[in-house]
């Protein structure tokens, strides 16, 4: 027998190791659960890590109040299935308490308000480690992030003075009042996540798969028709076949036109999108302005 693992099994072993270190090194950790595929993955890995015991961390959902109904349905059935504990931090309550002010206008969003609710929830429940589904391949600054990311008493990250992480030794020591953000799937790429979800047959919110939905275009982004987004007179919703590549607050999550109905379709789509994007690159002679146009289409 050859002792070789495929990359998904290697990543799984690493992430489970991290989750168990969190359980061992911290008193009161929590999983930040958004309802997106990355936090779903983290939750499943946590289930694997501690089975047959229940997941030793509550799931914390910072709820903007502007949800896709599918996300809440999925969240509640997952919590029930895993016997996990759910804590909801409500942005609405933060607003009602007068601690943040609701944004106004057509593009009002509660994304920025979430931070206050998150920090309040951490303080209220005295979490010393918050486990998130962020990945290093998402963004440049994230590429420098640690698995165990230290935050000072103000919740700040000091990227130029991070603790070295050597071998498989993770240093979770801290002073009173400080805390850690933990990123067990740091080394996974978007494609790894999809491939793993497919390999394991993990159920996902229906939003990720193609379906008919009334959507309208604003600044190049196709948004779902919902009472949470006031529409301008010139905007008109139309029924299209769409799916969502990421899932967040309904007011800022753009749909993409896609026929991908299964995980295999999605893997195919993610992989082929890369090839076709790359394929046209050699004779690509775009100017600075066309990049701006592209960004307006929702590239970032």
């Amino acid at each position: 027998m050859a002792y070789t693992l495929n990359h998904l099994k290697t990543l799984e072993a690493e992430s489970i190791f991290i989750l168990r270190e969190v359980a061992a090194q911290f008193e009161n950790p929590a999983i930040l659960f958004s309802g997106g595929k990355d936090s779903i993955l983290v939750t499943y890995l946590a289930k694997k890590a501690f089975f047959p015991a229940p997941i030793p961390f509550p799931l914390v959902h910072i709820d903007t109040g502007h949800n896709f109904i599918e996300t809440l349905t999925y969240r509640d059935s997952l919590v029930e299935k895993l016997g996990a504990k759910l804590i909801v931090g409500s942005v609405q309550e933060t607003i009602d308490g007068g601690r943040v002010a609701e944004e106004k206008g057509f593009n009002a969003s509660r994304i920025r308000l979430q931070t206050t609710t998150l920090l309040e929830t951490i303080e209220q429940y005295k979490f010393d480690a918050c486990i998130g589904g962020a990945r290093r391949d998402e963004e440049k600054a994230r590429a420098k992030e640690r698995f165990f990311s230290h935050r000072d008493e103000f919740g700040q990250w000091d990227p130029k003075n991070q603790r070295p992480e050597l071998w498989n030794l993770f240093n979770g020591r801290m002073h009173h009042g400080e805390n850690f953000r933990i990123f067990p799937i740091s080394n996974w790429t978007e494609l790894d996540v999809w491939q793993y979800l497919a390999m394991e047959g993990i159920e996902l919110p229906t939003l990720y798969f193609s379906h008919k939905r009334k959507v309208f275009e604003r600044d190049g982004v196709w948004l779902a028709e919902t009472p949470h987004i006031p529409m301008k007179p010139n905007e008109k919703a139309e029924e299209r076949v769409v799916r969502f590549r990421t899932i967040g607050d309904i007011t800022s999550t753009g749909a993409s036109f896609s026929e991908a109905a299964t995980l295999d379709d999605i893997i195919q789509e993610v992989a082929v999108t890369r090839t076709t994007e790359r394929g046209g690159r050699a004779d690509d002679k775009r100017s600075e302005t066309s990049m701006e146009d592209r960004k307006k289409e929702g590239y970032f």
Binding site: M1, A2, Y3, L5, N6, H7, L8, K9, T10, A13, E14, I16, F17, R20, A24, K48, A49, F50, F51, P52, A53, R136, D137, K140, A141, A143, K144, P159, K160, Q162, P164, E165, L166, W167, N168, L169, N171, R173, M174, H175, S186, N187, T189, L191, D192, A198, M199, D264, I267, Q268, V272, R274, T275, E277, E288, M291, R294, K295, Y299, F300
Partner: protein, 441 residues
């Protein structure tokens, strides 16, 4: 030259079909490699080239660096901008911290630990090197072997990286001359006799033009070896892990306290090395009690065997008191147990190492404290020269020390086992990790 010969040594990416086989990923291996380098040696260009030619750069990323290059008045797209993430790094055009990059080909998924090369960032190089299968070391063909080449090689050897790819870069600037390449290879081979790394591969490249990085160069027909990507895709890494000495450090104990699993007691951990199977006779350290493995499982699924680096849960036949920091090993193959330990260390703290200083220590899943009993020598990491006369070890220094721990550690020599042979020291006042340590036989 026949077609076959031309294709030989070409990476699989060239044959990548336009449609993606959605199941082929189930056979991909994971490989980690490290790069080290400073501003001008072309390291960032090489990484940019690997990502670009393996089609791993997204269009929006490319547009972003294209625009930045233009704004800065650079005539070509500066691929180096892909790898510099922190604001200070972009402003100064240097790499400060370890940055992790990802790309994959149909054969392997790669994790690059991209580190700065300057001596003042030795600690970052050590961090990147600690988990790597392979180190890419760049040599400027015009300059040959320089101090930095030796330093990077010594760090790779010290950290036990099993493979080195010595890339002689900027071959375009020496007219792709074979003699230049041969001279550098000969000189490096001579130097490398002092290294522990046994597998060294030489490749003449031009990162700027892409020669022998992903695609075979038609300007160096005299070179009969493989391209860099082909090497990365095919080099044998399965043996990099020790599959002989079973070491299972217990991370935590799983007790469900539920009706269905009333008496369940599982030991959760990740195999540091070796293989574990149900029926194996094991010894529990430090108690010395013996028992038999009842089950090896994960997520309720029983396994016939598990091997490093898998994370599993192990149940034993007997009810023994076992907790975090304990280790399961095989009867007849036990690690050393001692409180007096000698190690090579790389110091990362701002304050220098204190003789007789006390530090917190982390080794596998075990926490302990340690006192520094002796500083044997400091190593000049440019020459391997040992400084024994009143050595002091400050930030980025490498040396050999002797410590005594509050409780015995169960360890192997680092050269035999990277997981049980390594530990870190932590400053008890600041909680910062201040030393990477490799245990000597």
């Amino acid at each position: 030259m026949s077609n076959e010969e031309v294709n030989n040594g070409q990476p699989a990416i060239d044959n990548q079909p336009l449609t993606f086989d959605s199941k082929s990923y189930l056979n991909m291996e994971l490989m980690r490699f490290t790069t080290a380098g400073s501003v001008d040696d072309g390291k960032s260009t090489l990484i940019g080239r690997l990502l670009y030619d393996s089609k791993s750069i997204f269009e929006d990323q490319m547009e972003s660096i294209r625009a930045t290059s233009e704004r800065r008045g650079e005539t070509t797209v500066n691929l180096a901008l892909l790898t510099d993430g922190l604001r200070a790094e972009r402003e100064q055009g240097i790499t400060i911290d370890v940055a992790y990059r990802y790309f994959s080909t149909p054969k392997r998924k790669f994790i690059i630990a991209d580190t700065p090369g300057h001596i003042q960032y030795t600690r970052n190089m050590v961090t990147g090197a600690s988990t790597a299968n392979l180190a890419i070391i760049l040599v400027d063909a015009r300059q040959g072997i320089v101090e930095q080449t030796r330093r990077h090689s010594i760090i790779a050897s010290l950290l036990g990286i099993p493979h080195i790819a010595l890339c002689i870069n900027k071959m375009d600037l020496v007219d792709y001359n074979k003699e230049v390449y041969d001279r550098i290879v000969t000189e490096y081979r001579e130097f490398a006799t002092r290294l522990k790394t046994k597998d060294i591969n030489f490749i003449p490249i031009s990162a700027l033009n892409g020669d022998n990085v992903v695609h075979r160069s038609d300007k160096m027909k005299w070179y009969e070896g493989v391209t860099l990507l082909y090497l990365l895709e095919n080099i044998h890494i399965a043996s990099d892990i020790n599959h002989i000495d079973m070491r299972f450090p217990v991370q935590c104990v799983i007790r469900p306290y539920s009706d269905d699993f009333h008496d369940y007691r599982g030991y959760a951990g990740r195999l540091a090395s070796g293989v574990i199977r149900p029926g194996d006779k094991v010894v529990v350290l430090p108690s010395g009690f013996t028992s038999t493995v009842k089950s090896v499982e994960l997520d309720g699924k029983q396994m016939k065997e598990a091997f490093a680096p898998l994370s599993v849960t192990v149940q034993l036949e007997d009810d023994i008191d076992i907790s975090r920091g304990d280790m399961l090993v095989r009867e007849g193959n036990v690690p050393r147990q001692d409180q007096d330990i000698e190690a090579m260390i790389c110091w990362m703290g701002e304050k220098p190492l204190q003789l007789n200083g006390k530090y917190a220590l982390k080794h596998t899943s075990k926490d302990a404290r340690a006192v520094v009993k002796e500083i044997k020598y400091k190593l000049d990491i440019n020459t391997l020269h040992r400084i024994t006369d009143n050595p002091s070890i400050g930030m980025n220094d490498v040396g050999r020390i002797k410590i005594r721990t509050t409780t015995p550690l169960f360890f192997d020599a680092y050269t035999k086992n990277r997981d049980t042979g390594s530990f870190i020291l932590i400053d008890e006042a600041t909680n910062v990790t201040i030393a990477a340590c490799m245990i000597i036989d």
